[in-house]
Amino acid sequence: MFLNITQLFKAQQISTEIPSTSATVLKLVTADATRCVQCGICSYNCPVGIDVREYARRGKQVTDSRCISCSACVNMCPRGTLRWGDAALIFEDATVEVDPKMLPDALHLQPRFA
């Protein structure tokens, strides 16, 4: 599925539809650590109590199984740090494989936090 980036750019608002979870591709909350100022609005608004800020600080995807994909953190982040990203492949035997090519590009630009 090719994303028509030009059309989307001209839109005044990016759709904040909750992505559906399919059997083969999982969407995870994905963070660009260089944008994160650790204000904590993400964690503050998480209805299930995940410390999203900690994932964002490290530029890691939120892999906490309690995540219900409500998009509250993605929507509330004032810095555009968080977005939905493709990450893992879930196989029929329920094993999960993370494709490193799917990780955010920002991770290649900046040194990682510990």
Binding site: I5, A11, P78, R79, D105, L109
Partner: protein, 446 residues
Amino acid sequence: MIHYLIIGNGAAGLSAAEAIRRRDKRGRITIVSNEPYPLYSRPGIAYVILGRLSEEQLITRPLAFYKEHDLQLRFGTITHLDVQRQEARLDDGELLAYDVCLLATGSSAVRPPLPGIDLDGVISFDTLDDAKEVIAKGRRAKAAVVVGGGITAMELAEGFRHQRTTTHLLQRRDRIWPRLFNEHESAIIEEQIRHEGIKLRYHSEIAEILGDKGKVKGVLLKSGETIKCQVVGIAVGVRPNLQLLKESDIELNRGVIVNDFMQSSHPTLLAAGDVAQVYDRWTGEHHLDVLWPSAINEGRTAGHNMVDITMGREPSHAYRKGSPFNAAMLFGVHLTVIGRVGSTGADEAEQSRHYLSRGSSFVWTLPLSANQHSAWDNHGITSVRIVIAEGRIIGALLLGNQLLADPLRQLIEQEVPLGAYESALLAADADLPEIISNFWHQWRHA
């Protein structure tokens, strides 16, 4: 026992402390904080005054974290630093001898020497305590006047407005943030400001802050007009906190000049964060940033090198400064600034006088030279401006829809040559988003 002294408990200080602890599990690390809190997100104070975040949630590293990593947090102020003798004195009189010291004292709001500047009700917006004051005073005030042209002034205006206080935002010139925005970008933000019900005035400067019984009761403008108010927000820029080095012979410019290893002109004194004037490889000069990720990255580098120094080795971690970048939200509109976008209309003399706003970089607004060209395009409140030089994009400013922000950041950081795309981008009436996204896709999938 080796003693690492870190003066300052912000992003740079903590980042350094963590980097030291990763390599040295036994050395004593003292962090001195002149605010009575563990590490909190300074950029987040803007969201506290908007009611989007609690003060407790703002704390990024609780006290337990310091204990867990054996970081000795001292609340107090360093009153004297002897760089040669490697000693610092706390305000309670205690002398702290150190092996290596990091100056990470951050920056503070500039308060212009206006009559009435010391009245109760004049607020600057640096700290969590300032945020508490904004909320407390904003609640009781009928009207507020905010002066300043950068992110902080806008956050303050929005914060007072959130308390339903009548809010006046005064701009000295004829645009919002005239150093950074062109007239179109300023118009987009102006629309949002007025939409919020904030009263915006151009060509407006305060001549005097008026008081009654020691409290603010209004401002007198240079035009002769008076605005009644109970609180005045001053956000005209910040300057690095260098008081401790005033009597030293450490090499200073606007900040502490540091080498690639974050060392000052004395090898056992390092600097990181707002106080550090770091080498920028694109301009070939040392410049200041007031940026949170810069502070973290510089702190990490400094911490790593502090361990080398105490082991008697040469510092091993050279800092590689990235293209300065910040993302913020102004009155609901997202903004990203990357690299060099040039200064719109400020002359040389003004440049040398100006103080940086929080969340900005000196490099952003260095004047463009004759061979650096700018292109701009917009769709409603979404706009993109790029600066091209030497066949590549060297800077960008995006308002509104941020889809092109990360692609542009990659193209700028990785200095991707534009080739034939350069003339397309600089053509009159170029559809910039279309061309940029085509270029980016072509580069990504090459």
